[in-house]
């Protein structure tokens, strides 16, 4: 029979806590990476339409949000079947809708933002949440969030007509690269 003292027992429990934390983080990264790649591709398409055909930008962004939400639900359902972990429910959907509604309230009704300001506000607004979530769930979120916020501001202040194209690569491309990076970490 193995006999150990309290110091060794505490060390073993600390090892267990550390592994449990890493497993949870790894599963969060697994699921989130798919979401980031999905939203990255959609966002890239949204900005590209905004750049090439500004008149259709409104429709494009509605399509981005609808497709993204449906895709999010499908990825979550597939993840739940595979891992037994529920990651999408009515409260999460409600939180997302409230978040988007507050963004619309602030940028459209309250702020009357120009298209350029809209294109800057929304990525920063979304990335702020990623960054805050990263303080709890993992540094990758903080790195992705802050990088995209910084590059978005660079685009807003220094990029001219090509701003939507810049944002397609910075926001859409950034999310895709972030998702791929998470899959490797």
């Amino acid at each position: 029979m193995t006999s150990i003292d309290s110091r060794e027992a505490a060390s073993a429990l600390s090892d267990i806590d550390s592994i449990v934390h890493r497993v949870r983080q790894s599963r969060i990264y697994d699921l989130t990476s798919l979401m980031l790649i999905l939203w990255g591709a959609l966002t890239f398409a949204g900005y590209l339409v905004t750049y090439l055909s500004p008149r259709h930008a409104g429709y494009a962004w509605i399509a981005v949000y609808v497709t993204g939400t449906v895709g999010w639900a499908l990825i979550s359902a597939s993840n739940r079947a595979r891992s037994g972990i529920r990651s999408f429910d009515i409260r999460i959907l409600a939180a997302f809708l409230l978040f988007v509604a507050f963004g619309i309230f602030s940028s459209v009704w309250l702020g009357h933002f120009t298209p350029r300001q809209m294109g800057t506000f929304w990525p920063i607004y979304f990335m702020l949440v990623y960054t805050i979530a990263g303080l709890w769930v993992g540094q990758a979120f903080v790195a992705i969030g802050l990088s995209i916020i910084a590059l978005t501001l660079v685009g807003y202040f220094y990029i001219g007509e090509a701003f939507p194209l810049w944002m397609a690569f910075v926001n859409g491309g950034g999310l895709i690269l972030g998702g791929l990076w998470m899959r490797r970490s």
């Binding site: 029979m1 193995t2 006999s3 150990i4 003292d5 309290s6 027992a9 505490a10 073993a12 429990l13 090892d15 267990i16 592994i19 449990v20 890493r22 497993v23 949870r24 790894s26 599963r27 595979r82 891992s83 037994g84 972990i85």
Partner: protein, 102 residues
């Protein structure tokens, strides 16, 4: 006081069991490559310890092909989950007993 489980107590096996127990019982387990990354073990070492746990009935090993790539998935069995929970309870008891001593 309950006894420590000699099979689980080995450091790498403890990490393997901790990782598998962190998943819900309904989950499909962890792939070998993921376990390797999480535990920091080498292929040979990890394989040997998984085999020890499998012989004790604490984990189930499933080998399959995903496309053309072989994939090994390791899952904690009900017996493994029970043994791990008892092992953790014993560790906590050791710490509590030590704290009670004057």
């Amino acid at each position: 006081m309950a006894e420590l489980d000699d099979i689980i107590h080995q450091p790498l096996r403890l990490k393997i069991m901790a990782a598998l127990n962190a998943l819900p019982a309904a989950a499909s387990g962890l792939e070998f490559s993921r376990l390797k990354k999480l535990t920091g073990a080498t292929d040979g070492n990890l394989g040997a310890h998984i085999e020890t746990l499998a012989k004790a009935g604490y984990v189930a090993v499933e080998k399959a092909f995903v496309g053309k790539k072989p994939q090994t998935t390791v899952t904690a069995t009900a017996a493994g989950r029970g043994a791990f929970a008892r092992h953790v309870a014993t560790l906590q008891e050791i710490i509590a007993a030590s704290a009670r001593q004057p």
